[in-house]
Point group: C2
Chain length 332, copies 2
Amino acid sequence: MKIALDAMGGDKAPEEIIDGAVEAVNEASGRFHVVLVGQRSVIENYIQTKGFPTANLEIADAPEVIGMSESPATAIRRKKGSSISVAVRMHRDGEVQAVVSAGNTGAVVASSLLYLGRIPGIDRPAIAIYFPTRNGGTVLLDGGANSDCVPKHLEQFALMGSVYAEHFLRRTNPRIGLLSIGEEPSKGNELARETHILLGKSGMNFVGNVEGRDIFRETVDVVVTDGFVGNVVLKFTESIIYYITSLIREGVNESFSAKLGAVLMRPVFRKMRETLDYAEYGGMPLLGVDGVTIIGHGGSSAKAIKNAIFAAERFVQSGINDKLRSRTEGLQ
Amino acid sequence: MKIALDAMGGDKAPEEIIDGAVEAVNEASGRFHVVLVGQRSVIENYIQTKGFPTANLEIADAPEVIGMSESPATAIRRKKGSSISVAVRMHRDGEVQAVVSAGNTGAVVASSLLYLGRIPGIDRPAIAIYFPTRNGGTVLLDGGANSDCVPKHLEQFALMGSVYAEHFLRRTNPRIGLLSIGEEPSKGNELARETHILLGKSGMNFVGNVEGRDIFRETVDVVVTDGFVGNVVLKFTESIIYYITSLIREGVNESFSAKLGAVLMRPVFRKMRETLDYAEYGGMPLLGVDGVTIIGHGGSSAKAIKNAIFAAERFVQSGINDKLRSRTEGLQ
């Protein structure tokens, strides 16, 4: 298997991205190759400077770079030589089986749509976000690929989330909830109210509206919402974890006994951080494209990139796209 | 001053609601009276059973009850004798200076609109949510009064939030941020993109888009969004705090040294819980109605009700509605 990695995408590119690739191929011991896509000289220089072994690593040159603030659709059309464009075209042409990028999310989505196309029956590919819970996790779609949605899109997100939960969370007949602001079907905005009706008639295991508080409560396996709300929730999660950690740290610094207590509790805090650390979960798949695109957090560390590469491997092996295709045939 | 309290509204009504009123009048030692609005016999029986002193407490009979799942607008029109309707009409008629309710939020909003009306220049009153931060707090509007909004509504939320931040967070020229999913004006859904343009021309201290992560980071004083997103964020906050606490508790139960550590850290955790506990902040004002309506959390405890009553007192004393009126004159 070969996995293309956008070496220029992400706040810490290319250093942490390349570090992550090196760690991944070392741990995988030959199961796959990683193709580092980006400015060849930059990548080669970095690898030489660090003295990294190059077994199972390849380089594909991509001279252009897309910035985090460029308009994604325009950038993808104009910069055919950007690392994300080159990586996705390699995937389209069968040279690699998956693409991983921590770059501009909009550009990753746009290039995947342009070069890979969609699975029939899916109008809008969506980003699946995994939330760790105490009993195996909840998946939320859309994590930010589509800011403006209509009910039909959310119905498709529900279907994709359901297939994802079967494959990756090992749920049978996953429970689907619609994110709204009250349990009653009449609650919520126009999009939620209309989607509620559609999901009720869909034949899927729709259990009704859920609220923000249900995401970590395991009342459902799949939470469906539009990409604007999903992305707000994703980024809010990060902030509140940072905030709570800082509250604890401040309190600890104020007393000697609390400091001692914190030392004794260190394993608990370490485990908590690991549970909540997105870097452990390895990127978010863009479901619904006819290929395998894994989107990394913009701030991805080497560890996050390594885990995103492993997520890509699992995704390819899962055959989830074939399953999705067989399920969407009913929708067309 | 007299404050009407909806004694029948909230998951723990009437017991915790009445307990909260008793605690409030005890602490206030005569600064205000609380009028308990609800089924007279129920309220009287409870007060007698508990042997509460009745100084500074009054009762106003309201025979009907609105359930949490009734359609708010319909319920308010049909049940003129419900506790929330009676309480808000008493406020309209000048018998009380404020209303506090932890009942059906939609019904509280609908009755306030119907009986109190709006401050000129405000089309949609909005719920102001206070988020505690390390440097004094951030206010977010709308917390759930309006699920479907247009840009003009969000502009009015910005104005109301700004006046709130001046009065209650003591900020000079408060910084206003628009909740979106990227810093660039082009990011976000249609509502966010159009509101960005409107706020840019408003003459207010608009600093641009903010993301979910900025709510606790104090990059702005006021966060503006529609009531659907605001309410999702509010309820999500509760769930994640519950989840993190449960992660810590589980870890602590697994080892003796962690248990000892937790004992030593008890004051830190207590302070953290206090900081994050909505019950400490006393309800959320419905800004933009021509009166004082404080909305309590549905699960309000006696402490939450007590603090909501104190919030009502502060709101009346602040004269914030006059200030709001003088500022909205420019908008009309």
